[in-house]
Subunit: 380 residues, 2 copies
Amino acid sequence: MKDVSALKPPPFARIGDSISLVSTPALVLDLDAFDANTQRMAELARRHGVALRPHAKAHKSTAIALRQLELGAVGVCCQKMSEAYPFVAKGVLSIHISNEFVGADKVAMAVELANYVRLSVCVDHPAQVDALGRAATQAGVVITVLPEVDIGQGRCGVKGNDALAALVDRIALYAGLRFGGLQAYHGGIQHLSTWEQRKEAAANAAHATAQYVQFLAARGIQCEVITGGGTGTAEFDVSSGVYTEIQPGSYVFMDGDYGSKDWLGGWKPAHSLYIASTVMSTAKPGLAVCDVGLKGVAVDSGLPVLRPGDHGGHLQYKAANDEHGILQIAAGDTQDYLGSRVYLIPGHCDPTANLYQQYVGYRRDVVECIWEIDARGLSQ
Amino acid sequence: MKDVSALKPPPFARIGDSISLVSTPALVLDLDAFDANTQRMAELARRHGVALRPHAKAHKSTAIALRQLELGAVGVCCQKMSEAYPFVAKGVLSIHISNEFVGADKVAMAVELANYVRLSVCVDHPAQVDALGRAATQAGVVITVLPEVDIGQGRCGVKGNDALAALVDRIALYAGLRFGGLQAYHGGIQHLSTWEQRKEAAANAAHATAQYVQFLAARGIQCEVITGGGTGTAEFDVSSGVYTEIQPGSYVFMDGDYGSKDWLGGWKPAHSLYIASTVMSTAKPGLAVCDVGLKGVAVDSGLPVLRPGDHGGHLQYKAANDEHGILQIAAGDTQDYLGSRVYLIPGHCDPTANLYQQYVGYRRDVVECIWEIDARGLSQ
């Protein structure tokens, strides 16, 4: 009798197998498209002499981060303190937490991480500076602090020179803190529909950032790093003359929401990330029910769409239940799709990747690698 | 020098601590409410002589399943084949897969599981019967098969006596399969707004189910198990005279969507599951930004709401970004909420629980247990 307590599901993917044999649902990664995306963004930054610090929140995978570093990235951004741990453990030496945090638990993590890496963090309130400053100074570590300035997002970040100056002065009070420059990110403009809209909005954001930089310069304070930008505005950010560093994330995968935008005149990353799914019920005329629902794809930015051209364009994802995806079959098509494989482009990659434990990388339809999503769920 | 490769985030919760010390975001479980919910549903089923087979897809936790079994549950439902593995490994002896599946990978899992447990599965297509029948017969195991009938959901399940009869006859062709009765679930009616609407819809669903049962009886075929129902209709299903077994899931937690319905006349489970969150930025007047966004709460059934009464009702969750939750502060309230703790009721528990790795159980504000969400992400 086998020991039942050791029972585990079989591996859902095996290196060398055809991608069609991967057990669904699975996150599968077209490595040719992925490689092209990562190389192109690295080249874009290098050509303009701007540092590339990709956002690891998009992929949450140390394997991907290490590839980005090989191509010249200076480190990665994380959004949460616990999220940084697997990257540090795998040897990433420079981490920027592009977000505010509050609480003794988070401060303790920052101090611990600062023992291992060049750590920078964001603040937008004097109380954050004080808590971190006391702890870092007492622990004998130095943490770089980048006040976040609000350049139009209206979410986090200080607004106005006085508030910024107050933070900069406060950082200077602590031996354990070091002013490193500014975090200036505007998420909303990343997703504007047209290239022209994004270009204009990025120019406005860069202008707002430049005013803060000039204000500090007039006080004799230099910003070593001015970091921000994202996939939707990277091409403008690198030539802005303001940003020293960009932090795009989604470009490695390119999601449905980004993909639906107009990229006229600019470089459009290719879709590389799909959710492999299987049709498991065709009992209703006109419908094919697949095995990817709300637990397999994030729907906050729209439902997933099928990979263009597959199944003659006859299948359309029209509703997500918890474990079911409802595909509508084009009128007049009487094929029984039971068992058919579909590849879905998620509407929003970041929260979709956070649902899975692994990426299955493939090239020419053969599984080449299986990468852990080792920061999945690390949201503290 | 410490070995960096072993670096891990510190535990986010410790037994015996105040719940206020749990590192956020965290899924926290009010054990008094949870106990009352689980006991009350068990009593409801027992009182009516109906079997209770809670749906494990709602909590994905073997610790919770074992509590449900202690209170008299006959086993659990799972929605996916791989999802069943941790429950089998922890000693659950009866598993019903309340969903269709297709593919050699899934069939192989079914056959493997049937070596350890009483396994039942659903079908709604002859090809599913054939694939499973051949494999089970060859492996020398017996799998119980419950054809799914569509009683109004319009998703999976056969419609019409002929289609049902064809499946039943086909099951009989395989020594490795055993006809066990019917799966008859209508998810849509679980969430109807009023108690009267749900009562009427449940009566219609039970009537539709009864007609299939009578059709089979007229052919000399008895249904040992007629399983279905959910949290929203359980009180009607148990007294329907049709169902031998109910499969509610959400009742252990009670989510925001269920909670907003009218439960007049019936029993309303109490909210037991919250997401603990911390306000980490208050740089914008009128807004408090907390650390729970799309990666910490599923928003498909509406945004989360704050636990009633907290903070004088002055905070309202109004938007979810990837890692940020935007709380609007009531007009006139000038308090700085930085560092404040908020407890959020998720709009939809199932996909929210699937984002986390653990439940932190507390009683009278002290952490009493930490339960693994050990089937999280097992969606194959």
